[in-house]
Symmetry: C3
Subunit: 343 residues, 3 copies
Amino acid sequence: MEDNVVNLDEQPQLRRRSLLAAAGVLGLTGGAVAVATTTRGEPAKAAAGVTRKITIYAEALPGNQFGYGLTPGGATIPGPILEMYEGDTLEITLVNTTNQRLSIHPHGVDYSTDSDGAPFNASYNEPGQTRTYVWRSHEMTATSGRRFMPGSAGYWHYHDHAMGTDHGTGGLIKGLYGALIVRRRGDILPDKQVTVVFNDMQINNKTAPNTPMFEANLGQRVEWIAIGHGNFFHTFHLHAHRWADNRTGMLEGPSDPSQVIDNKDLNPGSSFGFQVLAGEAVGPGAWMYHCHVQSHSDTGMAGIFLVRNADGSMPPGAQEAIDRFQGHQHKAAATHVHEGSGS
Amino acid sequence: MEDNVVNLDEQPQLRRRSLLAAAGVLGLTGGAVAVATTTRGEPAKAAAGVTRKITIYAEALPGNQFGYGLTPGGATIPGPILEMYEGDTLEITLVNTTNQRLSIHPHGVDYSTDSDGAPFNASYNEPGQTRTYVWRSHEMTATSGRRFMPGSAGYWHYHDHAMGTDHGTGGLIKGLYGALIVRRRGDILPDKQVTVVFNDMQINNKTAPNTPMFEANLGQRVEWIAIGHGNFFHTFHLHAHRWADNRTGMLEGPSDPSQVIDNKDLNPGSSFGFQVLAGEAVGPGAWMYHCHVQSHSDTGMAGIFLVRNADGSMPPGAQEAIDRFQGHQHKAAATHVHEGSGS
Amino acid sequence: MEDNVVNLDEQPQLRRRSLLAAAGVLGLTGGAVAVATTTRGEPAKAAAGVTRKITIYAEALPGNQFGYGLTPGGATIPGPILEMYEGDTLEITLVNTTNQRLSIHPHGVDYSTDSDGAPFNASYNEPGQTRTYVWRSHEMTATSGRRFMPGSAGYWHYHDHAMGTDHGTGGLIKGLYGALIVRRRGDILPDKQVTVVFNDMQINNKTAPNTPMFEANLGQRVEWIAIGHGNFFHTFHLHAHRWADNRTGMLEGPSDPSQVIDNKDLNPGSSFGFQVLAGEAVGPGAWMYHCHVQSHSDTGMAGIFLVRNADGSMPPGAQEAIDRFQGHQHKAAATHVHEGSGS
């Protein structure tokens, strides 16, 4: 573990990116909250103990939707990307500005029952109430048999677990979700980050052509966090880019056995992440990302990843592709009986 | 391989657990049959040749259900957890006490066509008939290119493959299934084991609040074996615990690339397993496990993992959570059209 | 990387197999196009630059279906298996002999927007038109943090992306798909190859008992490429054989953490591959492969993997099993409401 900490110190250019993230510069979808801290000169274990306090506002949005935000009036769907290093703690003060019972429930990290965010554990905010949830994290720990119990690092997510029903599954469909990243020290930090949530038959609660267009310049390191919610099965596909089906999306070396993929199941409650170099080996252009379930793609689960030239200018043909996308017919779902749908 | 055998000998405390398992002490859901044997002083290959003979009874249960059991009248849903080490053989004498054609078909292990358990290979028990099925297993073997053909180790399962239809898919829905574990020598043995089967819209053929409540004391090593059956897609989620998405659920070391997850697809015919230290980094309490498909959770695919204090006493709030769970409304499935359902 | 190239040179028996593949001898389902080349004496990087030009014909087939083929009048469903090594380039001249707009879109490899195969990028063949698509590939490349950006190696696939709808999803259901393999130098080459495509409720656009029967002799190394398409979720299960859930299906060594499986999700747009030694540890016989979703298997998503004796003769009982399979009742799908189906 200790050498990972050294790695981080040896990569000041990556540290800078993290500071940019902390300043809210990076996020394409909501602001990113990076909680990286300087650890130089401290022992590894002690370093793994930074506590960051943030406030999140749960707010009603137009169209009977709801969102999380870092400032009053700043709620977005998805909510902000929250980040921490293994060993760090996030203390989240959740302000419920709505007239609904709701909560915030994280995947992957450590929490006591009173931070579970589930009605089952009486862990939620009543309408108008403010409540603090504590998310801790830890590094891997040695166990017998020369193996290690996993640490918290991963591309996780958070969501409401209290709205609408006894089990609290009513807030997900309305937009109360976001990405949560726990990094190992030494992990490569990205230049840009995007959150893609397949939520029932929508992407980030939108349908094409209104789905998000993510933009990057050629060669920029773009981190994708993909999250599934709702009642349907989906497969996430990105054109012209690929990633290793493991923790980071990169290979540890020639003997890393991970399959390299460009299409992955993205089902309710699951999440994964990876980093690509925008346009690597393919060049700039307008590339599609979409659900590869045929009827889901037809009915609007598709969007654009626009890779600009390295200097930020538009590559030839890209605007025409975007215009075409805007004009495409997205068949009404009414002609299909979709799996699990009550509509 | 040989060093794994040495490992096993060096872990007498783990061997003891296995002996407990053999005595039927471990299983939370049905009895566990551990077939570990002492291998000290034998060459590794010779050691990998123990044959264990067991009798399994397939029996009718109330409510038009069926189960497997290790004693007459002892059938359960799911059936007993069967265990072996790579290289061992299980000779299963299946006694069919029912008036239906049925069989036992394993995943992962080695069997000849006459132990296939499929009508296709005329491998089944007629009503009242007794028949022996032989399941063998093997360690990984070197092949060209410095790679290895996989051995049999894994969290597998067994099930009927002969009831009801020509393809023999009628017994699964009625409860004829169970977990099968093949371990590598040196694998860490658990303190407790639980089998969770997502079978159509039920867990172990039950719906909340009647789904199983699994119990462990803080820090106990609990092995989960998750199995999917039926016609629906599902995702298994466990609150406040996580595992590596690999063979054991643990990491081989810092360069093990496996993603760490707390939510995983659990679709028909698939299985996986992992070990957690109950309440590790989160403390005791009543934690939910559930299908994360929203409507599946709402309609009763949820249960409780009760982590007691280390001394076995109830932690604060746990009983209240259990009471709340018992009183929760589980919406009737009738308001949903679920995928693949004929009901 | 360099030692992988040396490996390849050290395995002349495997090279011969590849040449057989190039001669069209190997493919069980359509012809295989192997584009391996002799690299002895060349530096590794230079070796990774072979360009192969092939012509593919997209043709109408009976029953309102379409297929890809390597010769005029030679279209099959699935299309031919296309192979390349990391670093190689395939220049595909696609001849559209049909009266429909169509294209060829690959997964995994590198292509510019004009080879995207999507209407979105105006990349398709009008009826009767001939157009060239260029697919490149690359080896893994070192990045910061001692990690590697993944190379192109994988069990991928290609398919039409322009027929029928604005998004071009109409050709998949009609048969315009096939397997694409990118190998690392040093990868083990198979004796036989089979492509299995779960496309809506069919296998290779057929239903049992008309699904393909794949044949091999005991001990032959058979490479399976499994591909998912359509609107349904599926799980691929093969009796009596198993594989590692990683890039090759084999283990890199005792510390390779990959789960070994015999059942895997096979959802739209996904693909995976693995090699088995036919009948390894189980012997010859007629073995089933099928979708493990219960109702999908019942309604005809099942087929036979016939493992003959080593000398090619029929093992006892195999013909009887095949006859039984032919006579089995496959329930009409009409009694089920399947997920996502409008039928």
